[in-house]
Symmetry: C3
Subunit: 364 residues, 3 copies
């Protein structure tokens, strides 16, 4: 039922709820200060472990973290990503149809329990779609800690509904985005000192030197998603997108059911990657990524990775970088490394195609 203005007045209705922004609401260069700053705590870290079974040792143990120069176990980079991302949802993607891609993501300062995060975005591109009903919005989102240090900086673009159909007289602007962060642009925490790194405790004998471009790793592990799991995760990130939570409306939606937050798949795949990449404890960059297909409760997620590139880091002998492509797949083993067919079409089982860079110790 759509009420008239008069009916609304009769009900004393007001419009204090956030309807989200539509394509027409975005302006090139516009800065958006996102709401709900958030102190990350050990409680968030425990939930992250309980949701994904994370096993990277540096994030798991403060004793081990201290042995490599850190003050305590840092917060998993992907948890930081989800928390910053979550803040942007009410302003950027409440009326989004699809989260189209990521680029130029860099984790610039470690986050520790007790740090308070906030997020700001800038609109860096706008392009209407020819159907007149939607447009693509490109934003650079920045997560800051309580000392105003940038902890995360990334670009994403989303397809957003227009309030009114029809073509506007707006010049399309598509930002020029880097293909991948160069090694010199990767941030390594200064205090990090890997001379005493214990790979046995970390759970993998493989160092940077043991990986080669072109190498493929089936991460073997897999998990079936339950509705509670993905909703608990998505609420933890204070991500408010309705499609994840409301079965009453989604049962009449496009898929007939709640859609799993794409970041949940990223974290599952990243955590599975421990099995084969156990020493690659630090995500330094998200170069690009695509949610190829939606996931739903009941899906069993598998993942595999390909090493795209190996590189050294300026002035660091103790660790190097691996650029990885990690593919998450549903209801299918990754033994055969499913991705695209010969026509370049994604295998129907593929959910996620993520291009990112991790840091990993070098043999001393």
């Amino acid at each position: 039922m759509q009420l008239t203005v008069r009916e609304r007045a009769a009900f004393h209705m007001t419009d204090k709820t956030n309807p989200g922004n539509f394509f027409e609401d975005f302006r090139l260069g516009q800065t958006i200060v996102h709401a709900t700053p958030r102190t990350v705590t050990e409680g968030d870290v425990s939930l992250y472990t309980a949701l994904y079974g994370a096993r990277f040792a540096v994030q798991s143990s403060s004793a081990l973290a201290r042995s490599i120069g850190l003050p305590q176990a840092p917060v998993d980079d992907m948890l930081v990503f989800h928390l910053v991302f979550g803040k942007t949802v009410p302003d950027l993607s409440l009326n989004a149809i699809a989260n189209l891609g990521y680029a130029e993501g860099r984790f610039l300062a470690p986050v520790y329990p007790g740090d308070s995060l906030r997020a700001v975005s800038e609109v860096i591109g706008l392009k209407q779609n020819s159907n007149g009903k939607t447009g693509n919005v490109y934003v650079r989102s920045i997560g800051y800690n309580q000392r105003d240090q940038v902890v995360l900086d990334y670009v994403r673009w989303v397809m957003v509904r227009k309030r009114d159909p029809g073509i506007l007289a707006v010049e399309p602007v598509i930002p020029d985005l880097a293909d991948a962060a160069s090694a010199s642009a990767l941030a390594v925490p200064e205090e990090l000192n890997l001379s005493d790194y214990d790979s046995q405790l970390a759970g993998s004998p493989y160092y940077w030197e043991d990986y080669a471009a072109g190498e493929k790793i089936d991460h073997v592990d897999a998990m079936t998603i339950e509705e509670s799991d993905h909703m608990i995760a998505t609420r933890l990130y204070q991500n408010t997108a309705k499609v994840h939570f409301n079965q009453h409306t989604e049962k009449q939606g496009r898929f007939g059911r709640r859609i799993v937050y794409g970041g949940h798949i990223i974290s599952l795949a990243r955590c599975f990657s421990f099995n084969g990449l156990g020493n690659a404890f630090k995500v330094a960059a998200i170069n690009g990524g695509r949610h190829v297909a939606p996931a739903f409760a009941g899906d069993t997620i598998y993942a595999w990775s390909e090493v795209l590139e190996t590189s050294t880091l300026p002035e660091r002998e103790d660790l190097g970088a691996l650029r990885l492509r990690t593919i998450a797949v549903k209801d299918q083993s990754c033994r055969d490394f499913p991705r695209k067919d010969e026509q370049g079409r994604y295998d129907p089982a593929v959910l996620l195609d993520l291009d990112y860079t991790v840091l990993i110790p070098r043999r001393s």
Copy 2:
């Protein structure tokens, strides 16, 4: 199978388990010291966020909390309520048929992670029901912190089974309960100083002055409840009422399924109310409340609020109070503000009718 005393002895059975109190066990003026004191931690806070998607900024960010004079992010008032309530269940409502109402609830001191809570109740009213099978018990429950400060004080009444049917020679005593806390009775943390309150970070441009009695707000957001969600919440609160947990017996019970703890609905509704009441970060009083109908896993919860009254606070220019009625509804949008029909009967979709008072910054 009901064992005889002899059979019990043969089995070496003893009765060390808590059978809960029946109506006959309560005495007017009786004081009950409840078990299981509890230190509230950042882990509890994270779980609360993960269960409800709480977004009130003061509770979310210690950095923001410090900017308004608090030592760190306080614990959400409703989490405090559930923790204190949970302690009272083994003594008050293990044999309860229904949680009938709340009154005179006041949050008197903020709770921070690290505080240890305990609870004491006093029986302030007793009334047998004419069927001779049940009686209503009125109690005032008080939650204390480790410094013996009262953090929460509230009245609730429950319908409790009698051990033996039949009418006892007990004079009915029904306490005289206030309709709502007066503004002068509301507790405002002394250290609170809202001169630097950042409404942009808090996520809402609406201050106390922007709300008027009679105004209705559809909170729009909604969530579908899963069995895991409500059981995780209810266990977190150490609430032991069997109806929430045991499908084996509940499948033969009144509803054929587990009943969601009523407080879970309170927290969902309160968290949805962020959308429209984003600056109303502090619950000061629970004036009254009724669980109109039970909720079950699979229900999708929506909520709307009506501003019942706006009031200033003695000696505070920086914030005011809003008395609210928040209605939680299942499987139905709140666009039309469902509550009662012309005969005063609740709409069958209504689950909760809660009358409470929140504090909200005033424009400076």
Copy 3:
């Protein structure tokens, strides 16, 4: 599809993932340093409460813990057990068919939030099974804190698959295991001083003197397991056994569904035991235990206990020990104390038969 070596090379496949150890990989006397050290936090404690509804007061309240000489609320012993156990899974039981038993488990130092745990195991027995397909591996696993103190020491034996069928020329070695820890071997935290122990706050009037060998207690409380619950728990413990997580493969497995981690049943039973054993806050030893049957989501768990033995402790007048047998059962009340029939066969409802020792205050 099984790839040939050549096909694998063509795919640039490598074998960096952990395939787990097979029976042939274990050697008598072998020491295994397990991966993924873990700092236990208040977040883990909150999740433990939320998963099981734990109510032992000493673990719940730092204020109460301090009143009996402890620096803060200690971490629940069974949570410590699960965390240490979880570390051993990737090395010991990834290819296990069954977790056969426990023995000689002792909790030797209390664990507090902030402590970092790691685990080491020694192979103390090996025995092939006559089918040539499996063998039993006996290990002693030790959990250490960041000060290299032993917090937990226990033996378990598992039936592990062989890589290749056929009988090896290995002499069977079965370790000689104690039936139960003697009272003098039980560790009591030195700082513990129960002179001010408040049994009313703890929720039970029953002290050590009130229990007698042969006594049986039906714990009454029960909970239905959901898939999310047991998977969240098992991931929290960083236990990677596939059978708990992967419905895609388990639907074609032995049971057609995911199997609940046996330790989840231990914790449910232990937490239910609060009702009847509310003052028995400290587990001192796990003397033996058997997972009699697997549990699945949808099962409702009940538990009962028998007091096997009561004993005093050397140089402690303030507390004594109870050796208990706790039986967990599914979909059946424990009113009749189900365990074995006259032929010594377990009742089909029994899931767990656990023999352990708890500490409980004595009347002063």
